[in-house]
């Protein structure tokens, strides 16, 4: 056991957990990594490419090695970093990326074949035969290079989202972030402090240094007590700010229930979009390692992490450890571990002038050059002055200096700037607007400097907002400066790992250099360096330095490293926001929905709308049977259909008529009050945009209807025209689509039925002819609007009442029309009847057709201008030969399939001989066969001729007779009756 004394864990409580099927214990405050380390577990996973044994490298979110599958069943989550997984009772984790037991991975054979797996291996090897890639190579490679397994089951967790606003966002709750937060919060400003850890303090928790002669945790605790009394400060613990977006917006994920044995009614995570007027990046720094031969064994970790495990979690990777460093920070680890009773085998310092800072063996001017230990470190080779000796040690801490965490500062492409004196990249300009960087992220790495930069940063940021903040009294703190010596790797034979997660070695970088993949972007893609889930947090700068050494260029000349969101992995579930299935997007229900549901209607999605598709009755075995019945009943008696989904726009104002004249291709200003006119709108380019009706209720009051699909786009178009094209016109528009329930009453008995519900309104043909409209009352005083328009070709009306009465009116009409054959019909029957009548719908108004093609060329008025009129007359459109026709199979049992293309009989079927296409098709009970509408070249001249409909997808060749698109009542007598 290597549990030490002290630490920030609650030893009074024991937590049980499982790793790879074995039971372990830990304490609240532990991470999975610290609890395993404290129980002597060093082997935690296998590497990505070579399946090398790997243990924990870091103590934070930068971890490249200790990736595990967490949870089980549907909650199993791969690639979870053990170093940031908060321990809880019952936690279950399994190592990933191995075949067979972790200690004897069968895929480790890859390591023996390592010479073949050099950089660019896949690019060079799997080039041909080309067809093998998708079927053979890629699946095999993916299996070998596993990054854990997905459960494949639906995610059982709930996710949450929200929006926060603040004056100042402080990212990171270490020394700098805490000093900034307290400075800002005391001023009364709205402040958010976000930290990815479950405990505030950042690096303060990992160090043994005192603040004002007391443990740092005492200072943090006092601050937390004060924070609780500041309502203007919101602290987001377990929250990773993962991206800096435009306009001061940050993305952050709060892990709400990931650390709980059972989430209960809590969401698993919350996605916060934080709008901050100013932000302070206090993300700290990440220690870098020094590559040497076999530097990836379990037991070799970063020296700062080793210190964090000892001080915060009272855990040591071994009872005897060594340190390899190029700076004073490594000595700090030796001192802290020695103070905890850990035996220090040696401190190996590359600097010849290094001095011991305590009683431990120091090897100055030496480097670690190799290691041994099959599944865990047993000894290291130390080379000094050309002499190599082996030292027995169970663990090695490596310290190569610190890299400021510049990630969030570079999300707007701000390039980090190299500082040759301090051998590190610092946030470069321009920073994202409103952002400043404080603490170790800005190179202010000592505790005293971090505290001061935090307080000053907050004061400055708030001053920019006109908020005055006083600097707080800050505790006395350590102020060491530990610049590293330039040692980027230990040259020598064998493989020295730079990027642990993607298994990239110094040799790979050398090979990339040799193969001229020298620019940093090429290096990255050729070797996959920095492309793993850790984005190379512990690798990128070292790799640049190695490449610089090989090219003889400076590091800034070699390139820089830039980061994209997310800072660390974000689950797609939380980005999705949680709603799935029927709640995935808004659903719109028609006013008669509850009534239709009670009738057993089958519904169909039409955009966001759920519309009744058809109303099956007992004994009907196919949908066709139902639809045929609904069509026949409508044409023989009266049918009722909810048509509320068609867009309705009220147009008012003195210039309403002039406005509509400019919008519609045909005239509308001349429409008489009390009448309706069919209208066609064109796009600016002359193609048909949408059709509908326009009713005039008063001189200055029209109601425009649109198709269901184009209700939104037409309203937007009208609003654009009103505000931007003709602001001089006195026009006001408002959508009333949802306000009115509208029911189509169609069929020869329509008038008789309506006469039973209107309040003394004269519906006779003389008083209320075809295309009349009126405001009236129905059913005892209910305000309503009546339009005599027909989509089915029958005598038909549309009646509108306030939406809340829609279901009741539908029920009343069915009840009152029982003896008239009143039958509800759905969108299928609606479609059949409009095809029989030859009315264009969405299939015909598909954005590629013109008024002329639709047979409405003469509607485009020559006596006035309107949007699209001029361009509809351009040559390419006026010479277009395809026009709308009806199509009927010669063999009445043959199908008509929409989407089929039309060819002359006997012609070779090529693009050049294509005569057109079938836009709509259905079975027509009236005709007694399938019928279709289509666009056919020289269609009018081909009436009566035979064409062939080719449907290569289904191997269909069907002979069709070209007919008028009006299969029913071509003279329009029924609707005028």
């Amino acid at each position: 056991m290597t549990r030490l004394t002290g630490g920030l864990i609650d030893r009074a409580t024991t937590l049980n957990f499982r790793f790879n099927g074995r039971d372990y214990t830990g304490h609240p405050g532990d991470t999975l990594a610290s609890a395993l380390m404290a129980q002597g577990v060093r082997l935690m996973g296998r590497s990505f490419k070579y399946h090398r044994p790997r243990g924990v490298l870091t103590a934070g979110s930068e971890e490249p090695n200790a990736l595990v599958e967490l949870g089980r069943g549907a909650r199993r989550e791969p690639n979870t970093r053990a170093t940031v997984t908060e321990l809880f009772e019952g936690l279950e984790a399994n190592s990933q990326n191995h075949v067979g037991p972790l200690s004897f991975d069968l895929m480790a054979v890859n390591d023996l074949a390592a010479p073949f797996f050099a950089a660019g291996f896949y690019y060079k090897t799997f080039m041909w035969p080309r067809a093998f890639w998708e079927k053979l190579y890629e699946p095999a490679i993916r299996r070998a290079a596993g990054l854990g397994r997905l459960s494949g089951l639906p995610d059982p967790d709930a996710y949450d989202k929200g929006f926060l606003h603040c004056d100042l966002l402080v990212i990171g709750g270490g020394a700098a972030g805490l000093a900034a937060a307290v400075t800002a919060a005391r001023s009364g400003a709205q402040v958010i402090l976000a930290d990815e850890d479950f405990r505030l303090g950042g690096r303060l928790l990992a160090e043994s240094d005192m603040l004002d002669d007391a443990p740092a945790t005492a200072w943090v605790a006092a601050l937390e007590a004060e924070f609780a009394s500041l309502p203007n400060l919101r602290i987001l613990r377990r929250t990773t700010v993962f991206g800096t977006f435009d306009h001061g917006i940050f993305g952050a994920v709060e892990r709400v229930a990931d650390h709980l044995p059972q989430p209960g009614d809590k969401p698993r995570q919350t996605l916060w979009r934080i709008t901050a007027r100013r932000s302070l990046l206090a993300a700290g720094a990440t220690e870098r390692h020094i590559p040497f031969r076999n530097n990836d064994r379990p037991g070799i970790l970063l020296a700062g992490a080793m210190r964090a495990y000892a001080n915060r979690w009272a855990a040591s990777a071994a009872g005897r450890v060594a340190i390899f460093t190029n700076n004073d920070d490594g000595h700090r680890t030796a001192l802290d571990l020695a103070a905890k009773g850990v035996d220090i085998a040696a401190v190996i310092d590359s600097r010849p002038e290094a001095r011991a800072q305590g009683s431990y063996p120091l090897l100055a001017g030496a480097v670690v050059s190799d290691s041994r230990g099959r599944l865990s470190l047993t000894r290291i080779a130390v080379t000094r002055n050309g002499q190599t000796t082996w030292i027995e040690t169970g663990a090695l801490g490596v310290s190569g200096g610190w890299n400021p965490n510049v990630h969030l500062a570079s999300h707007h492409r701000g390039r980090p700037v190299w500082d040759e004196g301090r051998l590190a990249f610092f946030p470069g300009t321009p920073l994202p607007p409103g952002m400043a960087v404080i603490g170790a992220a800005a190179g202010q790495g000592s505790t005293a400097a971090a505290l001061a930069s935090g307080a000053q940063g907050a004061q400055q940021a708030l001053a920019e907002l006109g908020i005055s903040a006083a600097l707080p009294r800050l505790p006395a703190a350590e102020d060491r400066h530990t610049p590293p010596a330039p040692l980027w790797h230990v040259p020598g034979k064998g493989r020295a790992w730079v990027d642990f997660q993607n298994d990239v070695t110094v040799k790979d970088i050398a090979l990339a250099h040799q193969e001229n993949m020298r620019p940093v972007e090429h290096l990255k893609r050729w070797t996959t360096l920095g492309m793993a889930t850790d984005q190379g947090k512990t690798a990128n700068v070292t790799a640049l330095a190695v490449m610089a050494e090989l090219t003889g260029a400076t590091i800034p000349e070699t390139g820089t490293t830039i980061f994209r969101p997310p800072y660390s992995g974000v689950s797609l579930g939380v980005l999705g926001g949680g709603d799935t299935g029927p709640d995935f997007r808004p659903r719109r229900l028609t006013p008669t929905h509850p009534w239709a549901e009670a009738q057993g209607a089958v519904f169909v999605e039409v955009g966001q709308w759920m519309r009744a598709q058809y109303f099956p009755r007992a004994g009907e075995t196919t949908w066709r049977e139902t639809v045929d019945r609904e069509v026949r009943a409508t044409r023989a008696g009266v049918g009722l259909c909810d048509v509320t989904t068609l867009g309705k726009v009220e147009v008012q104002g003195r210039d309403a008529g002039a406005f509509l004249d400019r919008l519609y291709a045909n005239p509308m200003a001349s429409l008489k009050v009390g009448m309706v006119r069919y209208g066609l709108m064109l796009r600016e380019d002359g193609h048909a945009f949408d059709d509908g009706t326009c009713a005039r209720l008063a001189d200055d009051h029209y109601i425009v209807t649109t198709t269901t699909a184009q209700a939104g786009p037409v309203f937007r178009h009208m609003e654009f025209a009103r505000q931007c094209l003709w602001p001089d016109l006195d026009v006001q528009i408002v959508s009333t689509t949802d306000a009115w329930a509208q029911i189509s009453v169609a069929g020869p008995n329509a008038r008789r039925l309506l006469e039973r519900v209107v309040d003394g309104f004269d519906l006779s043909n003389d008083a209320f002819p075809f295309m009349a409209c009126a405001a009236l009352t129905v059913c005892g005083g209910l305000r309503a609007r009546l339009f005599r328009i027909s989509f089915s070709g029958e005598l038909a009306y549309e009646i509108a009442v306030p939406a809340r009465y829609g279901a009741a009116l539908m029920a009343r009409l069915i009840e009152q029309g029982a003896d008239l054959g009143a039958t509800p019909y759905g969108t299928e029957a609606l479609g059949v009847m409009r095809i029989e009548k030859g009315h264009p719908a969405g299939n015909e108004l598909n954005g590629q057709t013109t008024a002329q093609m639709l047979g409405m060329g003469r509607m485009v008025s020559a006596r006035k201008d309107a949007i699209g009129t001029v361009l509809s007359r351009r040559e390419g459109l006026t010479t277009e030969p395809r026009v709308l026709v009806g199509l009927q199979p010669v063999d009445v049992t043959a199908p008509v399939t929409a989407g089929s293309h039309l060819f002359a009989e006997g012609a070779e079927q090529r693009t050049e001989t294509d005569l057109g296409w079938i836009s709509s098709a259905c079975h027509s009970p009236h005709v007694g066969s399938a019928i279709g509408l289509g666009f056919l070249a020289d269609g009018a001249a081909r009436i009566g001729q035979i064409v062939v409909a080719a449907n290569p997808l289904q191997g269909q060749q069907v002979r069709l007779r070209v007919v008028s698109p009006h299969f029913i009542d071509p003279e329009g007598e029924r609707l005028r009756d």
Partner: protein, 188 residues
């Protein structure tokens, strides 16, 4: 008076209400709404003596209220007047203006908190991307909620109304209830 029985936007014959500890959500089918637009060159209308608010504003005067919906456009509110022809009443009260019935174009949901401002401001971040400091009592803004376009009105420190398109009432309610339940689960 018609004998037809109306349905609320949520499909019931009585308004839906949900009490979740501190929070109460109530469907408001009684709320009459009329769109009022000023015509070019016309004086500012003052229906029922209401002082029509500027951008982002909601103003109550007597039994009526109004909120700004666009340049020279407002929604006039008549609580308890949904069963009458409210648009006609507004048209008479604002002669020369453009008016349209919007009562059934919307579903209105009141959200109140017994804990007052704290309860509402704890919930707001889960509803809309608006700074609670800016959405002060007397504010009304059109914004997005769960892929829906809504108006949110802060009638009082402890009282919100959310207006969404009537046809999507179920989706709106689902989103509001979910946000409220999450908020309460996390504040427990």
């Amino acid at each position: 008076m018609t004998d037809l029985i109306p349905h609320t936007a949520l499909g019931g014959t009585t308004p839906r209400q949900l009490r979740l500890r501190d929070l109460t959500m109530t469907e408001r089918p009684d709320l009459a709404l009329a769109w009022l637009a000023r015509r070019q060159g016309a004086p500012l209308p003052a229906p029922f003596g209401l002082e029509l608010p500027g951008p982002g504003g909601w103003h109550q005067g007597g039994d009526h209220a109004a909120f700004w919906t666009g340049p020279d456009q407002w929604m006039i509110e008549g609580p308890g007047r949904a069963s009458e022809d409210f648009a006609l009443a507004v048209a008479k009260a604002a002669p020369g203006a453009s008016v349209s019935d919007q009562t059934d174009a919307w579903v209105a949901v009141d959200i109140t908190a017994t804990s007052g401002v704290a309860g509402i401001e704890a919930l707001l971040p889960r509803l809309v991307n608006l700074d609670p400091r800016r959405l002060a009592p007397g504010s009304a803004t059109r914004t997005g909620f769960e892929h829906l376009s809504v108006f949110i009105i802060r009638r009082a420190a402890d009282h919100l109304t959310v207006l969404g398109m009537r046809s999507a009432a179920g989706s709106l309610w689902h989103g509001l209830e979910r946000a409220a339940r999450v908020q309460l689960a996390l504040s427990a």
